[in-house]
């Protein structure tokens, strides 16, 4: 899409923002299919389950939206989540051992997760921009590093949160406020803030400009390196927030935590209408993409129509169809 033609000259169908609506259309079709296949699909508890489940990938994917729109990629988010989760649990266990009150431990645990997320994001960002290395390579390396670190911290096993903390931390995932589970409030807040930052601030416009054409952005006196680094730091922060609601769920982390989350986050972003090459996209599409991804798994679990062995094939087909739908419309 180059310069928009004169509004009066185009038919009304061209003026509807299809790129924003088509991910929603895909989700709607999936919901209709789900409701037809299973009576329990639209039950309140199932809808809550699916939305809560999508919060992890959704929150991470908000950060991924920034990275991808700026023309980058981050393959390390799944491993980073596992590493931050493992460190947060070990940190809280250690502080409990020092005799700190549980409330203080929880607050410091959350601070620790945020600090680690920011640090991990900074590592990626600065290595990419200062080291002038392709983001694919840096974050692929980081993927291996974080994954190994969590396995090392866990001594090859599983890191479990001290039972004394469980009572206080559980409500972060299982509790709700005004009938809506806490993870959804946090997911919503991250989405709103992410959307405002991306679409309503100068920083956000710079992110788009860099993704569209980095050279032009540089000639326009946009601080390209700083903005790009910041997108990876935002990604790290989003991972930390996702971890803060992930840890209360099972109170454990291991080498198998967050495996392939990076691909799910990238898929959510692309399904949501953001271009993988950067320069265009929006946060709300990403949210829809994340919900759509967890809905696919849910529908497959609720029905026996399709053989278990084909689950991943169905997911693959739906992802491709969802993107095909919006590209076809966009033309």
């Amino acid at each position: 899409m180059s310069t928009p033609p004169d509004a009066a000259a185009v038919p009304w169908t061209r003026r509807i923002p299809w790129q924003t609506l088509t991910p929603l259309l895909g989700l709607f079709v999936l919901v209709v299919i789900g409701a037809m296949l299973s009576d329990s699909f639209l039950s309140a508890s199932n809808v809550t389950n699916v939305l809560t489940r999508s919060a992890f990938i959704g929150i991470i994917a908000v950060g991924t939206t920034f990275v991808i729109i700026a023309g980058g990629i981050d393959l390390s988010v799944g491993s980073m989540a596992a590493f931050v989760a493992g460190s947060m649990i070990l940190g809280m266990n250690w502080m409990l051992g020092l005799g700190l009150a549980e409330g203080v431990v929880l607050a410091l645990g959350i601070v620790l997760a945020v600090v680690l997320g920011l640090a991990a994001g900074s590592f990626n960002g600065f290595t990419i921009t200062r080291g002038k290395i392709e983001p694919f390579i840096v974050t692929l390396g980081a993927l291996g590093i974080f994954r190994s670190l969590v396995t090392y911290l866990a001594d090859g096993g599983t890191i479990s949160l001290d039972f004394a903390m469980r009572g206080l931390i559980r409500p972060l995932f299982y509790g709700s406020f005004l009938g809506v589970p806490w993870p959804l409030w946090i997911f919503g807040a991250v989405a709103v803030i992410g959307s405002i930052v991306l679409h309503r601030t100068r920083f956000g416009r710079y992110v788009f400009a860099i993704g569209s054409n980095e050279d032009v952005a540089r000639y326009s006196a946009i601080p390209v390196r700083r903005i790009k680094t910041l997108t990876y730091i935002i990604q790290g922060l989003c991972v930390a927030i996702a971890v803060i609601i992930y840890v209360p769920r099972l109170g454990s982390a291991s080498g198998s935590t967050g495996v392939l989350w990076e691909l799910e986050a990238i898929a959510a972003v692309i399904i949501g209408g953001t271009a993988l090459k950067g320069g265009s996209g929006h946060v709300w599409g990403t949210i829809v993409g994340a919900v759509l991804l967890s809905t696919i798994g849910n529908v497959l679990n609720l029905t026996d129509v399709i053989s278990n062995y084909l689950n991943q094939a169905v997911q693959g087909v739906i992802i491709i169809l969802a993107v095909l739908l919006q590209r076809g419309r966009g033309r």
Binding site: S38, S40, S43, S45, N46, N49, R53, T151, A154, D155, G156, G157, T158, S160, Y174, R249, L250, S252, S254, G255, S256, T257, G297, N298, L300, N301, L302, D304, N308, Y309, N311
Partner: protein
Amino acid sequence: MKRISILLAFLLASAFAWAQDDVVTIGVSIPAATHGWTGGVNWWADKAMNDIQERHPNVRFVINTAGSATEQANDLQDMVAIDQIDALVILPFESDPLTEPVAQVKEAGVLVTVVDRGLIDPTIQDIYVAGNNPEMGRVSCEYIADRLGGEGNIVVLRGIPTVIDNERVEGCMEVLDATNIEVLASEYANWNRDDGFEVMQDFLARFDQIDAVWAQDDDIAVGVIAALEQANRQDEMFIVGGAGMKEMIARVMEGDDLIPVNVLYPPAMIATAMEVTALYYVSDVPVLGEYILGATLITEENAEQYYFPDAAF
């Protein structure tokens, strides 16, 4: 004079080589700790190495962990070429791709012990140590069938699509087919806590009446428990996991209604294999052959002897 010194050097060198021969090097190749059970394998391999080396100073172990079948095949070449191993204890990542690499190790004159996942050609191995997957499924579902009195509704959470998983499920179904127990649904939970949680959430949304859950694996069972507690339905059913995770054994020991039993599929089998292989060199007792460990049903009565609080799993 020169000739004598060469001869002397030769004699010294061969004496040195002979002394070296006294030390037996056993290579141990296992998958990296990617989930709870393989984590347990790593922990037990380490422990067995220290124990055996302390008892027999002339036995030396070299442990390599691999992240993929290809990596494991490369490790084998290094073990033969660099470490010059006398024996190999291997828990193959996958059966097919590792059969040929292990056969080559065997051709180099190395004693081969295969653990858990059998090779395509069983003639390669000198010693075979394994858990019993069909038996594990059978024992699990016999308990479920007995406890439910032969009728009721159960859900099944499977592992990762592999031969191991198929054998366990087939072993279970043979038992259940002879009863009036209905398997409402079965889905893959990939031997993983998060997947266990999500799959069980969906089963709970889908079915109002579930009498028992066969989770097959203790990591999956951890997720199942969390899902039941969230839906507040933990009093309606019981869970049969498996593998012998210490937290689960502890619950069985305490007489937990939700986790009444566990079925053993011990990661410690790697230690069994290392012990047997070392025995071949340090004693005269016959050791070559196959060792199939039982899939013991762990109940409140016998749980204590399977509880290892220090283990990683």
